[in-house]
């Protein structure tokens, strides 16, 4: 083997990043050095073998020198490669670490999500169980929290037919909250389901309406825990037919020569149902009559005196001079009602009479002519009026003044407000009676407060029933308190002197 081949064998394995000439140049340079050294030995007279041996001896290990030179030349690249490898390893390790961390984090998140799902599922199951309990509770009529309440309405008697369309309103007792009000109407079987309610005290209002009017009532009752409430209401119907009534007024004889009139309003009273209707029935029913067809405010018959009704205790007396006397406390307009100087025709609630004492006997109605709605009536106030004008003045033009009055059905004093109207009402004002309230106030008169009811029926009551079953007769007796008050009033000067000539406007 020549020196070149020997050096070639001593070199490290070739690398891809090795400069192409590096290996050759190292070998050529060292080979040149050996050749020069060999020739130098030859020149010194050595035989070739000795010259070669001495040249190699001087040189040392050419393979080791060649490897060192190669390594010195490649050190940078090798180090760079090692750095890259190390960097790559670091990157790989970092990636592995990051992946591991990410995997760990993801696993933790998945674990937490699984726990959250389990918790949510448990909460949902608990809620579902609670809902099932609530549904079961709602379905259980004996649940102490929810109690079914039903109402059945029958007509007139406990075994009467069902009443359809009766409006029911139920609310918590002592509560005006809309949220705590339940409303229903009875069906064709007279039934109304008011749902499930909590135990407690409730108020039930009942309204039954017909073309003739509306009957209403209210009843309080208690819902006990775990109970099932079924209320059977015996409901009267608004009367359709009319009943015959005979009313008798007994004037004291001492006032026979006075030009006095007795003003008597009859009021529809509350009606009690028969006692056999049941213990849980409403105490009484109130009737609100519908206005008769065509009963818009109007004048009936000859001119005055008229009483214009607006509501309870609301009336006007018109004198021939255009004065207006108003009874207060009106709310809703009511038709003009002719005072029953003749006592003819049907008279609706409230029924008022203005009767001259001289014609008191005319208050004794003919049952065939005076028709009353069959219901309960009562009288709570009466007044004695005195005419200021002679009978020569037509009834519609006469003036009156209140000389005495008495009220016994109320615990508080009644102070009517009398307005003197200077100008008679026009047809438009009559059509809209409320406009008359704006009239000028002129004087006040005070009522006598009677310590007892002033009127007595044959059975000692201040109320009576107008019945279809038999003719009704009711006698108005003059209470002693009113008689004494009237005596005093008649001795006093008149508040208004009679006018020689009536003023007609």
């Amino acid at each position: 083997m020549n020196p070149t081949d020997a050096l070639e064998a001593e070199m490290p394995p070739p690398r891809d990043d090795e400069p192409p000439a590096l290996r050759r140049e190292i070998i050529d340079e060292l080979a040149d050095h050996l050749e020069c050294s060999f020739r130098h030995e030859l020149l010194r007279g050595q035989d070739p073998e000795t010259a070669r041996a001495r040249a190699l001896e001087r040189f040392g290990d050419p393979g080791a020198i060649a490897r060192r030179l190669w390594l010195d030349a490649m050190k940078g690249k090798i180090m760079r490669q090692r750095f890259l490898i190390a960097g790559g390893l670091v990157v790989v390790l970092a990636s592995v670490a990051m992946t591991s961390l990410a995997w760990t984090a993801m696993a933790r998140v998945q674990l937490e999500n699984a726990r959250a799902r389990e918790a949510a599922q448990a909460a949902n199951l608990a809620m579902l169980a609670r809902l099932n309990e609530m549904v079961a509770t709602l379905k259980n009529p004996r649940s102490p929290d929810w109690n079914p309440v039903k109402v059945v309405v029958v007509d007139e008697t406990p075994d009467g037919p069902p009443v359809e369309g009766v409006a029911l309103r139920l609310s918590r007792a002592r509560s005006n909250s809309i949220e705590q009000t339940w409303q229903e109407k009875t069906d064709s079987e007279g039934k109304a389901d008011l749902g499930l309610l909590h135990p407690g005290d409730y108020d039930l209002w009942v309204d039954r309406s017909t073309p003739e009017g509306t009957v209403t009532t209210s009843k309080s009752f208690r819902i006990k825990a775990g109970s099932e409430v079924v209320r059977r209401i015996v409901c009267p119907r608004p009367p359709r037919a009319k009943a015959a009534v005979k009313v008798v007024c007994q004037w004291p004889r001492e006032f026979a020569n006075e030009k006095l009139y007795l003003y008597v309003p009859f009021y529809l009273s509350s009606r009690e149902m028969p006692s056999n209707s049941g213990d849980d029935q409403p105490d009484s029913w109130t009737l609100h009559l519908s206005l008769p067809a065509g009963s818009t405010p109007r004048r009936n018959g000859p001119m005055g005196p008229f009483v214009m009704e607006k509501a309870e205790f609301q009336a006007y007396l018109f004198g021939t001079d255009g004065s207006t006397t108003e009874f207060r406390d009106g709310r809703a307009p009511f038709p003009w009602v002719q005072t029953p100087s003749s006592g003819e025709g049907p008279f609706e609630f409230p029924i008022r009479f203005l009767v001259e004492v001289a014609n008191a006997d005319r208050l004794d109605f003919d049952p065939t002519r005076a028709k009353w709605t069959p219901w309960s009536y009562e009288v709570s106030v009466v007044m004695v009026l005195r005419a200021l004008d002679s009978k020569d003045v037509p009834p519609g033009r006469r003036r009156y003044e209140v000389v005495a009055g008495v009220s016994g059905a109320f615990q508080t004093p009644i102070v009517p407000n009398f307005l003197i109207r200077k100008i008679p009402p026009s047809d438009d004002e009559i059509a809209q009676p409320f406009n008359l309230i704006t009239q000028e106030a002129a004087s006040w008169l005070r009522f006598i407060q009677s310590p007892r009811f002033p009127f007595n029926t044959p059975n000692g009551q201040t109320r009576f029933e107008a019945s279809l079953d038999h003719p009704t007769e009711w006698t108005i007796t003059f209470p002693e308190e009113l008689t004494q008050e009237l005596r005093k009033a008649l001795k006093k000067p008149r508040a208004m002197e009679p006018s020689p000539q009536p003023v007609i406007r």
Binding site: E25, D28, E29, L30, A31, D32, H33, E35, C36, S37, R58, F59, G60, D61, P62, A64, I65, R68, L69, D72, A73
Partner: protein, 113 residues
């Protein structure tokens, strides 16, 4: 003499020989030996790594020529090598003068080398 000082001295002698004209490894070793009167005999294991190191540091540059029927690598001093040689020679002479002064063996003839 430690290896670091010796290596620095070898490099300085290589630069000095190359600074006198293009030369190659075997000739350079022979020149050093002759000029040091046989004191410095550069072994190939030290000579060629030093030559290649100085070349990588741009203090020497090389080229190849045909000689005696084979390729030969010649080295010559670069400008950077020349500056480096001057600096090293100055440092060396100061060091050697100081040492000789202490030892009382100062030789004036070396100042012109």
């Amino acid at each position: 003499m430690d290896s670091q000082t010796l290596g620095s001295a070898v490099e300085m002698m290589i630069l000095d020989v190359a600074g006198r004209g293009p030369t190659y490894g075997y000739e350079l070793s022979r020149t050093v030996a002759e000029r040091s009167e046989g004191y410095f005999e550069l072994k190939e294991g030290s000579l060629y790594p030093a030559l290649h190191r100085l070349e990588r540091r741009k203090l020497l540059k090389s080229y190849w020529r045909e000689a005696e029927g084979r390729r030969r690598k010649y080295y010559e001093l670069t400008d950077a090598g020349r500056a480096e040689l001057a600096s090293r020679k100055s440092t060396w002479l100061k060091f050697a003068g100081a040492v000789n002064g202490v030892l009382g063996t100062r030789r004036t003839g070396l100042s012109g080398v």
